[in-house]
Symmetry: C2
Subunit: 202 residues, 2 copies
DNA sequence: GTCTATACGAAGATAGAC
DNA sequence: GTCTATCTTCGTATAGAC
């Protein structure tokens, strides 16, 4: 299926360009140039720009899903899995300093435009949020698991925002270490989850 | 001076629109409508869009400067002054949930476009950063003052980003309380600043 | 200082040939 | 499925009258 391949090429090119230049700032022509298509042919695959955005968000959702599953396999303990998440700040340092967090910057852009796809973009956050929440639940944090997940997400967003502004690698390392320190100190509230006592010391 | 007034009206209108819609997404026509000017007359006051951006950033810089000075007078202790900063997350909650942080979102947008004014926009952050650093220095945190300032800035950015995404007031309150808690727990590293012993217990 | 009119280019989108 | 040609709208910017 050649059609599927071209379509996929468009989505991948759009994914990169939306991240590096922003959704609004990226034109059909920009994407067409990267894929090596004529502008006209573009509309065979996608009728509107919003349709491409929809496909790009779907693409990112599945990529994140795959990443989370890889972390699930690659790290043995919930703590190590959460650390995998935090480490993307180091792994993607260069890109984050140049373009910010792909999820956060997209959500901000769509929020300002009050775009229909905004809630769909927030789903990208929700994927991380629910996965982190699961890890904290496994650690024995019953009702607080979601709040802790949001706290980690919040910190990663803050680090990404200031990393883009100041481009300070030492700042990123320091804050990543601080999140890991915070993580190590967290202990489940036993009154929430009496059956999880055995987990907390694992 | 009527000219100065019109110019000022343009800058104020642009300030609001750049925040609520974004810099790129705001057209001359949008600003002209708000001010009640014709598009043509616009170019009497500003030759290019970048010139307006320059003026808007200058306007924001002076607004922030005035705000910092007001906090300096309105709050008696450095701790209370830092709390004034944190409280803007509550005070501007509605706008932040709708449009994000005015400084963070502008820096992100300009970073993606690799815009000339990006470093000037970062100055908006630097104003807060240096002021916060001063407060921490007054609290006796010698060499760590700037790191603590960056940590507070980082948290406020993270909260703003997720507030825009999830529009969760309880989350904002919780994280604001958590920053205040963190702030109350900070104690100066005495080896850095031996002469500040008397301050740490004030 | 403010207006109308207009040039110019970029970008979204369509029609129809191959 | 891909192309060229074209339409339309919009946004930046300019010229010149009042």
């Amino acid at each position: 299926m050649v059609a599927a391949t071209t379509r996929q090429q468009i989505v991948q090119a759009a994914d990169t360009l939306f991240y590096e230049r922003g959704f609004e700032a990226t034109s059909f022509a920009d994407i067409a140039v990267v894929v090596g298509l004529s502008r006209g042919n573009f509309y065979y695959h996608f009728k509107t720009k919003d349709e491409i955005l929809h496909a790009v968000i779907a693409y990112r959702l599945s990529n994140i899903q795959a990443m989370l599953e890889a972390w699930e396999v690659g790290a043995k303990t919930p703590i190590d899995r959460i650390r995998s998440f935090i480490q993307i700040l180091i792994l993607n340092q260069a890109k984050i300093m140049a373009y910010g967090c792909p999820v956060g910057t997209l959500c901000n852009e769509l929020a300002k435009r009050d775009h229909i796809a905004k809630n769909r973009a927030v789903e990208l956050f929700t994927l991380f949020r629910d996965w982190l929440s699961c890890q904290f639940t496994a650690l024995g944090h019953g009702t607080q698991a979601d709040e802790l997940a949001m706290h980690i997400l919040m910190r990663s967003q803050g680090v990404a925002a200031l990393a883009t502004a100041f481009r300070d690698e030492a700042f990123i390392r320091r804050e990543v270490d601080d999140i890991c320190l915070w993580l190590a100190v967290q202990r489940p509230n036993l009154s929430d989850n009496p059956e999880s006592v055995s987990i907390q010391n694992s």
